[in-house]
């Protein structure tokens, strides 16, 4: 009796571990997608600013382009059968359902507000004055870093989840922001290109950090 119970117990622990690994895999897919989408978005933003110049229409087009990229990301995740929800629901109970909905709404609001702030800053900055060129690319870098930081803090505060991998994104972005600023001083579009590399690198580092969990299980814990 005791042996049978122990076997069931071990099997259940294995199932929970598999769910955790499956979630880690979903997270890796999610970050790798962002490692592609974010630099592409940054480069397209730069191209739009080069062609149209900083004005209201450019701002609207940039926001629209990001919106389309986010839809593409969502469709790609859906096509691959990877639910981004598992990033949020892991280790949570039923009573959190309403809270999850509220947190998701707050997260969307954070990104909308930050990107709107970036667009407004890009439009009002007199980029023909050389030292003001530093603002739009650096602001975009800070927007992505701060958005990730706020999401990390919100998940910790409202749901008690510590998504340590997001720290990798935040630290990489904040540490490399001065390089984006320096490149922007040379030329604003050089700044955007460096930002594209920086943001791609930060999400790639995050995906590698998550991959570490899977390797740890395969080579050490198993």
């Amino acid at each position: 009796m005791s042996e049978e119970l122990e076997k069931i117990y071990e099997a259940l622990i294995k199932v929970e571990k598999l769910v955790e690994l499956s979630d880690a895999y979903s997270a890796i897919v999610n970050y790798l997608l962002w490692a592609v989408i974010a630099p592409v978005g940054a480069l397209l933003s730069a191209i739009l600013y080069i062609i149209l110049g900083p004005q209201l229409l450019t701002g609207i087009l940039v926001l629209l382009m990001w919106f389309l990229l986010i839809i593409m990301y969502w469709l790609a995740l859906k096509f691959m059968g990877k639910a981004p929800r598992s990033l949020l629901l892991h280790k949570l109970g039923e009573e959190y359902r309403v809270t999850i909905k509220n947190v998701k709404r707050k997260m969307a609001m954070v990104w909308i507000l930050l990107f709107t702030l970036y667009v407004v800053l890009s439009i009002i900055m007199p980029v023909d004055v050389w030292y003001f060129r530093i603002i739009p690319p650096t602001a975009l870098c800070l927007v992505v870093a701060t958005g990730n930081l706020l999401i990390y803090l919100m998940l910790r505060k409202y749901l008690g989840i510590r998504r340590n991998e997001v720290k990798v994104t935040i630290i990489t972005l904040y540490v490399l922001t001065p390089i984006v600023a320096l490149a922007s001083l040379k030329d604003m579009y050089l700044g955007y290109m460096v930002f594209a590399a920086v943001v791609g690198l930060s999400y790639l580092c995050t995906a590698l950090y998550m991959l570490n969990h899977i390797f740890k299980y395969i080579f050490i814990e198993r």
């Binding site: 005791s2 259940l12 622990i13 199932v15 769910v19 499956s22 639910a83 109970g93 039923e94 359902r97």
Partner: protein
């Protein structure tokens, strides 16, 4: 010591539990994949899937996989949370039972 066995009308059934455990890990599967993996007849699998869909544990939709029309079954947030909580509560119950048995040995 009181040991409370978790009750769930949906997951109390072993076939439905195995369907949900499979979906918990893979997130979504085709009807034929589920049928092969769990070794079930189409009628049996269909009736359990309908019950799970009605309870909001899964979503069933028709889709194209490899240029062929397929029935795709996806786990919902509700199904994810309920199944994970169910297996956790069983594990905790067994943990309690084992802790009472072991000292006597």
């Amino acid at each position: 010591m009181e040991v409370k066995i978790p009750k769930d009308d949906m997951l109390g059934n072993p076939t439905r539990l195995s369907i949900m455990l499979h979906l918990l890990i893979v997130n979504r599967a085709t009807f034929s994949d589920l049928q092969k993996t769990l070794n079930l007849t189409p009628g049996n699998l269909d009736s359990h899937l309908r019950k799970l869909e009605k309870a909001g544990f899964i979503r069933i939709k028709k889709g194209i996989v490899g240029l062929k029309p397929r029935t795709i079954i996806m786990i919902t947030d509700e199904g994810y949370i309920r199944t994970l909580n169910y297996i956790r509560s069983i594990r905790e119950t067994i943990e309690k039972v084992l802790s009472t048995i072991e000292p006597k040995q």
